[in-house]
Amino acid sequence: MRNTADVVVIGGGVHGCSIAYHLAQKGIKNVVLLEKNYLASGGTGRSAAGIRHQFGTEINIRLSATSIKMMENLAGELDYPHGIDLMQGGYMMLAYTESQLDQFKKNAEMQNSLMNAGTKVLSVDEIVRITPALNTEGLVGASFNKRDGHVDPFHVTQAYADAAKRLGVEINTRTEVVDIITEGNRVTGVVTGKGEVISTPAVVNAAGPHGAIIGKMVGIDIPLYPERHQILVTEPLEMFLPCMVISFTHGTYFKQTPHGSLLLGVGDPEHEVKDFNQESTWQFLEDVARKITYHMPALKNVRIVRQWAGLYDITPDSQAILGKTDIEGFYLDVGWSGHGLQLGPVVGKLMAQVIAGEKPDIDISVMSIDRFKTGALIPEPACV
């Protein structure tokens, strides 16, 4: 392993790999990425990997629209032969009350005026035309964007990692960061679990739910905690569900992968554990089966294959923490609270610009860690 680096990136998820690639692409070639487990082993690979324009805050709308555009050309740009299984069959957000639909209308207007997103608000009839098997009981409408959809999170991460390596980035998996060395108010190095020391003037914390532990190494309190979310996987079926479907009312979402399997999820912050436990539970199996068969009764005959769990990195306003900190050379890209996968491409680019001392293409200052001191929180109304 190299013992000096221009930048050390902590975390081999989609954000870490994207940052490393974009740094190298800028000509900052001596980048070392450290991943405690294997690439995409954390939240990235455990994500349902939905991508959507349909957010409710200006910053997320700007980021996601740009990121989706990047994903549309990603395999080509990164010369990645396997493709990233990008499925743009849309993303349908179900509304069960008029006030929810009003919020979706406001969000859609913002998405369309800021980024020309093409988001539409659908009537129940229009919903049924896209997803005939959906239970319409209680539905009042939906927000829909046909360029939304989902992607394969492993391929996106691997595509960035491979491209980064070709540009000279060193990627070390099974390498945990146990300490960060500072002198005065600035970062000077990183210590790994194998006892190696890498001298570096810049460290990026892209460690997801472990981000708070990394923050403590330089004496910074990052307000984020892990929260378990689980996903159920069914047997593969012929394609019948073109779009990802989500209900904030029920905390549910589901999609059909190109392989044919359905991924079924429920966000259950009230009951789910808030630590590093990634075990699957039978309670979830029961809960998700009940909730998703309500949305789509025909799924009751579909067999379950397996189940997995992963961790969200939740912040007080469910928004990411990005950019510089009070410690010189210590940068943050953490706290995505469950919607970070899709923003990996654009945020990697922006973080690389910040680290290189440039003005980022999109102003991300509202996501600074300082907002927890000033109280300028930016709660996202469109999240599970």
């Binding site: 047997e235 012929e238 019948f240």
Partner: protein, 104 residues
């Protein structure tokens, strides 16, 4: 090929029944796994892989591996190694992944 006497296990056989494999009439014993009856009748290819269309046969025999998914009485993705045979069953080779069945 069938085992008539097993050195350790004792077993009783159900009554002889007829069923259909891709429309062809075949005999088996009621209550035995469909796959066992097919095997005894010389049917070795149960499905084909999705990407390369390679033949798949009797493999795990305990309902885990999805090597034996077939359409049984119109229902796709039935694991015939753990599904019991009944009189008159229509067992068909499955093309593709099987469709979601939406009841009215």
């Amino acid at each position: 090929m069938r085992i008539d006497e097993h050195p350790v296990l004792t077993f009783t056989r159900g009554k002889k029944v007829t069923f259909y494999f891709d429309g062809k009439k075949i005999e088996g014993y009621e209550g035995e796994p469909i796959a066992a009856a097919l095997h005894a009748a010389g049917v070795k290819v149960l499905r084909h892989s999705h990407k390369k269309n390679r033949p798949r046969g009797f493999y795990c025999a305990i309902g885990n591996c999805s090597s034996c998914l077939m359409v049984v009485d119109g229902v796709p993705n039935v694991r015939v190694c753990v599904e019991k045979l009944r009189e008159g069953m229509q067992v068909e080779t499955q093309k593709g992944r099987g469709d979601l069945i939406v009841e009215d």
